[in-house]
Amino acid sequence: MTPVSEGGLPAAYLRTGSSSFTDFVAEHEPSLIPSRRGLPPGATIDAPHGTTIVTLSFDGGVLMAGDRRATMGNIIANRDMEKVFATDEYSVVGIAGTAGLAIELVRLFQVELEHYEKIEGALMSLEGKANRLASMIRGNLGMAMQGLSVVPVFAGFDHHDATGRIFSYDVTGGCYEEHDHHSVGSGSLFARGALKKLYRPDMDADEAVRVAVEALWDAADDDSATGGPDVGRRIWPTVGIVTAEGARFLADDDVAPVVDAILSHRRGNPGGRRDGGAS
């Protein structure tokens, strides 16, 4: 504890401590931590909500896709919002729930991972990342009980066994590893149904993109809060892919043909029925 402060780095900066940015901020500038802000008891407020995220593993990696709609009650608050984010070079997170809080949480999580990487000189393990996110969600429980919940889904590439892995969360910060595929958000029931029918373990990345976009389509078909592909405005789902080479996002020009293919397949066949295995 050096009492050095005037104009220089505050003493807390020079203290030996954890390599966690969140812990550092919580101690040093707690007002920047979203969960430290309380709402008046009993208050509930309307805020934009993000909706459906789907994620599935494929041969050599994992994919995550989200629709672009945010709703506030019956209003569409935003029609081109991003809800899938790269959190570091080898992981992505998708968010459902209160959009403002969720985005702040993702920003904090991104800095948390980069901070650890810089201080320790090494990447955090995939489980380590999943657990850090769980503890951030846990910190948000008070807000969740007042209606401002954040429910993310996390996916990344595990270098130890060279596969993509998926982790889901509940509002209390419980972290569960999911196998093959998962979906969160208001349209997730319908997306999960679609994923179960369309998923095959040996898919390649292109097939996985098709399955993800189709699952989002089914979610949008039955859930008013999930946005389908907006052909008029050319707004397509966000699709993030993580492989051994790192995380990347598909360009709009790569998603458009997938949407077009589904569109023509579903013309006169709104449920996407497969006839004799054709797709």
């Binding site: 050096t2 005037e6 780095l9 900066y13 020079l14 500038e29 800095v111 901070h115 810089k118 990347r248």
Partner: protein, 269 residues
């Protein structure tokens, strides 16, 4: 600190003793060089350890290098990462500058020098890579909190004065990375006492660059294999391989702009 001392020591003498003490500690260590090249800024340290670094990443465009006592400069490095990450988180990534960090370090080193029982035995460089070579900034900070705004090439540590003198004659703007690294290795290998040059291979050098052709996190360590190629006269490799895909390490970190990138990648011509 002076309380309890049995006799009077003049402030001049006190400061001189402290400066001598710090200088002695710093001079014991191997040297570190920081020098500009056409696509960025290179950090070159003589360091046998693969894990105890003398060079580190602070932020997107800012790097750190130090000589002296490891525990002291490591403490300063961590403080710098905390400073940068907190500032970038509460404002924006573009609001984190080497100048701001150099000022904070200067204040800290200055206060420790005058107020603590012993000064830090360190010398550090904080460098920020610009969009072009004219925008590069290299700040050198000494144990007493003095800051110097340097251009082109800086040497710290043991025989830094002789190395800097020798190399400044040979350094010029626009060197390729390979040329800059060969120059640095030659400078570090030279024996200031007049003996024959030592052999400094890739395994005894720690090298990293701030590569301005990378869009976001420009810091990159250069491993021994690539370093061997860069230092070799026969090998045609003269720069780090370009970024071949748009990974999130390069993309902007603001969740709402990450796919659009708030800074276009400069041409790596």
């Amino acid at each position: 600190m002076t309380a309890g001392m049995p006799f009077y020591v003049s402030p001049e003498q006190l400061m001189k003793d402290r400066a001598d003490f710090a200088r002695k500690g710093i001079a014991r260590g191997r040297s570190v060089l920081v020098l500009g090249y056409d696509h960025g800024i290179a950090f070159v340290a003589e360091n046998q350890s693969r894990s105890l670094h003398k060079i580190g990443e602070i932020y997107d465009r800012i790097g750190f290098a130090a000589v002296g006592k490891y525990n002291e400069f490591e403490n300063l490095r961590v403080a710098g990462v905390r400073y940068a990450d907190l500032r970038g988180y509460s404002y924006d990534r573009s609001d984190v500058t080497a100048r701001g960090l150099a000022n904070a370090y200067a204040q800290t080193l200055g206060s420790v020098f005058t107020q603590e029982s012993k000064p830090y035995e360190v010398e550090i460089v904080v460098a920020e890579v610009g969009r072009d070579a004219d925008g590069d900034q290299i700040y050198r900070l000494t144990y007493d909190g003095s800051v110097a705004d340097e251009r082109g090439l800086v040497a710290m540590g043991g025989a830094s004065d002789q190395i800097e003198e020798r190399l400044t004659e040979k350094w010029r703007p626009g060197l390729s990375l390979a040329q800059a690294l060969r120059l640095a290795a030659e400078g570090l290998a030279h024996d200031p006492a007049g003996g024959p040059d030592r052999e400094l291979g890739p395994e005894s050098l720690e090298v990293a660059v701030l590569d301005r052709t990378r869009p976001r996190r420009t810091f990159r360590r250069i491993n021994a294999d690539l370093l061997g190629q860069l230092l070799s006269d026969e090998d045609p490799t003269d720069d780090v391989p370009p970024v071949d895909h748009d990974s999130p390490r390069q993309a902007a970190s603001n969740p709402q702009t990450q796919r659009h990138g708030d800074e276009p990648a400069p041409d790596s011509d």
